[in-house]
Symmetry: C2
Subunit: 177 residues, 2 copies
DNA sequence: ACAACAAATGTTATAATATAACGTAACATA
DNA sequence: TATGTTACGTTATATTATAACATTTGTTGT
């Protein structure tokens, strides 16, 4: 029974979808990689060693991370890699819905629930650098509704809201007050 | 009486906000530049010759256009320009709300209603390359609502919906049928 | 196991987008 | 006109991404 919802992951996260500071991050990485493995097996695509490692690095960062950052992290661990190496892995992961690209940051972030053809909506905190992926039906239906009214056929959506997350606002207040 | 709504522009456009194929484009460019001039005068900022020309080129294209495309267009008309020249003008125009950046295209497009602190939502047609700027209250309030619920303080929004506009869908049907 | 093919990766070079740093010119204000 | 500020010119470089082709690895049929 592949690809079912995994509540254990949700419970590992802050209710507002931003990863909390003290979450069990290893479990968080392991869960994501485990899901990715099952998903690739189910789809009959190969999550090779390199692709697996790139996805692992993305989740280890647990925030949107640039291609050249990943490249450097690979290099630091001894893998002599050049740009096409990383971009090919990123392309695979994007094609298979295992990561998302954040256009406003030129960065890549792991997807919580791979395989679903879901609307990727992101709230991105400029203070902590973290991104929360959402699936707000109201936002999605508002957009679909407008598209229908103007006869627009939707192929892709980029919805990236930047600002400051609740945690970081609180920390800023603490520092000031 | 600066910065008021100008219905004459709306009437120059297709109801779905995509510029129609036969719209009076010169009027469209003139109107945008005129508004920009008043706006800059009102705000006490300088729409210099270069900035004016860059904005004019952007509107002349009347679709999202890349920085290096603009650079080439400037060069073709004899202005020996280098990247900083164009990027500085783009920065000025962005800062003053006269253009928007389309993150998913690395491109820049003129803003219909400069000066308003409006939500920039775009529907972008991959066939004709045109972009429709919207201000759908439902979309905006759906996003604001979600932000409020998770305590997120919004600073900027990137909402870019890609696909095929009604006109281009019709043309595709005509070609096939 | 072997050949033959396909998929993935390595490698080198280059494209496309954007900014840093510093000098010069134009403009504003007094 | 002197002075300070803003904008622009110019050179170099940073950042992000892809093209092209060689090599390796994996798969499939025999
Ligand atoms: Zn985590
Ligand atoms: Zn934060
Ligand atoms: Zn026009
Ligand atoms: Zn179109």
């Amino acid at each position: 029974m592949p690809l079912q919802g995994d509540e254990s992951v949700k419970s590992n996260k802050h209710p507002n979808n931003f990863p909390s500071a003290d979450h069990d991050h290893q479990r968080c990485v392991d869960s994501a990689l485990g899901k990715a493995e099952s998903y690739c097996t189910a789809r009959g695509v190969r999550l090779t060693k390199l692709r697996h490692r790139v996805l692992e690095l993305i989740w280890a960062n647990h925030r949107p991370v640039g291609a050249y950052d990943l490249l450097q992290q690979l290099t630091l661990e001894g893998h002599k890699a050049s740009p096409p190496t990383i971009y090919r892995s990123l392309d695979f992961l994007l094609d298979n819905g295992l990561i998302h690209r954040i256009n406003s940051l030129n960065a890549y972030v792991g997807c919580d629930h791979p395989g679903l053809d879901h609307a990727a909506q992101f709230f991105i905190c400029g203070a902590c650098g973290q991104a929360a992926e959402l699936e707000d039906t109201k936002i999605d239906s508002a957009i679909s509704g407008h598209a229908r009214r103007i006869g627009f056929c939707i192929e892709g959506k980029t919805i990236e809201i930047s600002g400051t997350c609740a945690n970081c606002q609180q920390q800023q207040r603490d520092r000031q007050g």
